[in-house]
């Protein structure tokens, strides 16, 4: 099984505060993994570190993507190599239209902006200032449209279900499925994903291959995402702390 992303003993701090403490994980080509965790557990920090934002300082460890150490590369180099991220709260950029960004994302592929936007009923947003006055669902659609045009091999999604009403959740689920090639069944997928979820709703739409629980910057367990989610629903994250599987996980990763 070919590995797309491998994270080895990753320690990260932000403004001098340690936020990730020895993360190990690997995502094979074509697989989608999900991360569960409370607010402030380090989930978003992990995604931001994978994307390479300078505020997230790697103190120790490595990020290997497509066999190459990318730990010191700036975000745009990582984007060019095939990593894409969906922001939870993207900024508004004055005077810059969604179309302007999509055109720049489309630089190296031929996906038609208009056609794709139309297929998700989002064409009227193309000429609006990006993210300005967008509702929760509209922000997600805008982010996913940018990712679909960017066409990355590894998709990082930060709580794709947050702030989205039920009606829009279906469409957003469809967009994520397309992004992760979940609509392909009879040939191997080439796209992988790492999805943060707080509520677990996204699991109704996306079949994930593996789940992780992050608590206080550490991975506490990994396993079947549905089972982990059911466990969290029943016992909360406190249950994860007491869970014996954690010891199996630690011994497995040498922690």
């Amino acid at each position: 099984m070919k590995i797309l992303l491998e994270i080895k003993d990753l320690w990260v701090e932000i403004e001098g505060k340690e936020i990730l403490k020895g993360i190990n994980l690997s995502i094979p080509v074509g697989e989608t993994h999900v991360i569960f965790g409370k607010n402030g557990s380090g989930k978003t920090s992990l995604l931001m570190t994978i994307m390479g934002f300078p505020a997230y300082r790697v103190k120790h460890g490595k990020i290997i993507f497509k066999g190459e150490d990318i730990t010191d590369l700036p975000p745009y180099e990582r984007a060019k190599k095939g990593i894409g991220i969906m922001f939870q709260r993207p900024p508004t950029i004055k005077g810059v239209k969604l179309r302007d960004i999509l055109k720049l994302c489309a630089k190296e592929n031929n996906l038609k902006i208009e056609e794709l936007a139309q297929s998700f009923g989002f064409e009227e947003f193309l000429d609006r200032e990006v993210n300005k006055g967008f509702s929760g669902g509209e922000i997600k659609k805008s982010e996913l449209l940018q990712l679909l045009i960017q066409n990355p091999d590894l998709v990082l999604l930060d709580e794709p279900e947050s702030g989205v009403d039920v009606e829009n959740m279906q469409l957003i689920g469809e967009m994520i499925k397309k992004l992760l090639q979940k609509d392909i069944h009879h040939k191997p997928r080439t796209k992988s994903g790492l999805i943060i979820t707080h509520t677990g709703f996204i699991l109704k739409y996306i079949a994930a291959d593996l789940g992780y629980v992050i608590i206080d910057g550490e991975i506490y367990c990994k396993g079947n995402p549905i089972e982990i989610f059911e466990g969290i629903q029943k016992y909360g994250y406190e249950g994860c702390k007491k869970c014996l599987k954690r010891f199996n996980f630690l011994s497995e990763t040498g922690g």
């Binding site: 994307m51 934002f53 300078p54 700036p74 975000p75 745009y76 984007a79 060019k80 894409g84 991220i85 922001f87 993207p90 900024p91 950029i93 004055k94 005077g95 810059v96 302007d100 960004i101 720049l104 994302c105 630089k107 200032e129 940018q146 960017q150």
Partner: protein, 383 residues
């Protein structure tokens, strides 16, 4: 800013001027084309002055008059009722210099109820090193008429030092509308002193857009607009890039002198260096008026200075005057957002700056917006 003596510059009247525009070099024509003097663009009329001499003055439609101001003053005795009436020749040394020794300028008039569809293009071009070009322009939009006037000002691509004094008086009669746009492309040693007075009567509209994206030594201007009749309105939009060593002081004063008049003054400035002063003043001299001032500056260098000075004066309680000013640097999260989409830091910054300077102005003709976008593209190459 040290004092400027208009007399230190050579007279524009003595320069050697080509007989017609075809004698301009390709490089010069290219520069003027960027600023709107483009045969492929539909125009209702055109006026081109090189140094002191009008080289082109033509009109394509009925209801429009275009003349060099010196000819117009001879032809129409009544024009003296408009000459130096929205502005005083005694205002400063620059108005005095223009009053004493005028080089020329344009007279544009739209007859009552004629609504011109395409723009009228005027171009004031300095071709000779170290001259002072002193122009006086008068625009009259008669009752119910509409005019869209674009004035481009530039210096020859290879000259830098010059002084441009532009006295302009605009009169918008009852229900008339003037959309006035000015695009500047000066040299690094050019000094520019526009002096503008605007009078708008009942129900009239004045929409002004000013664009200056290239290096210049010094610009100082503060158009004074009086809204004299009920329901008159004026809007000013200024888009400026302040380069290192440029001193740009642009203001705008609007006097709301009748009920239901309203105004909006918006400016966007990007500072790469030098000194920028963005002033705006709205004076309520009547009840039931409305005014808004918005001034935003983006500082891209530690070496530049930006001063935003908004002023609101009211003599009545029943008015609505507001202002909003913000000066700061580019938000890091915006740059990082675009970097995550594969843009380098420079590409991201350039897109953000372009977006910042893109203000959608109500009533601006699409052709002009295109021209501004084109100028922005060109300017961003040098960023």
């Amino acid at each position: 800013m040290s004092k400027i003596d208009p007399k230190k510059f050579k007279s524009a009247k003595k320069s050697d001027i080509p007989k017609d525009l075809s004698e301009l070099s390709e490089e010069e024509r290219e520069r003027l084309k960027v600023l709107g003097l483009d045969e492929s663009l539909k125009r209702e009329g055109e006026f081109v002055q090189v140094d002191a001499k009008p080289l082109l003055c033509k009109k394509e439609v009925e209801g429009l008059e275009i003349l060099p101001i010196t000819e117009a003053l001879e032809k129409y005795k009544w024009l003296k009722d408009y000459y130096w009436k929205a502005l005083s020749p005694e205002k400063d040394e620059f108005t005095k210099a223009a009053a004493e020794d005028l080089d020329n300028g344009y007279f544009v008039r739209v007859l009552p109820n004629y609504k011109l569809i395409y723009p009228v293009q005027a171009c004031l071009y300095i071709r000779t090193e170290n001259i002072s070009q002193k122009v006086h322009n008068i625009v009259i939009v008669e009752e119910g008429a509409e005019l869209n006037l674009i004035t481009s000002c530039a210096v020859h691509p290879h000259i830098t030092s010059a002084l441009h004094i532009g006295v302009s008086e605009y009169y918008i009669k009852k229900g008339g509308k003037l959309t006035f746009s000015m695009i500047h492309m000066w040299g690094e040693e050019t000094i520019v002193r526009p002096r503008t007075g605007i009078i708008v009567e009942e129900g009239g509209t004045y929409i002004s857009t000013y664009v200056n994206l290239f290096p210049v030594k010094s610009i100082q201007t503060s158009p004074v607009c009086r809204l004299l009749g009920k329901g008159a309105r004026a809007s000013f939009a200024t888009i400026v890039v302040n380069h290192p060593d440029s001193y740009i002081d642009i203001g705008g004063e609007v006097y709301l002198e009748a009920p239901n008049t309203r105004t909006e003054i918006i400016s966007r400035t990007v500072v790469y260096g030098g000194e920028n002063i963005a002033k705006g003043k709205i004076v309520a001299k009547s009840p039931k008026v409305k005014g808004h001032l918005e001034c935003q500056g983006l500082m891209l260098s530690h070496k530049g200075i930006m001063k935003a000075i908004p002023e609101l004066d009211s003599y009545f309680s029943d008015v609505e005057l507001t202002h909003e000013a913000a000066v700061g640097k580019i938000a890091k999260e915006e740059v990082e957002y675009l970097m995550a989409r594969g843009l380098s830091e420079d590409e991201a910054t350039s897109l953000i700056v372009k977006g910042f300077l893109t203000i959608k102005i109500e009533g601006i003709p699409p052709a002009l917006q295109k021209q501004i976008d084109k100028t922005l593209e060109l300017a961003s190459l040098g960023f």
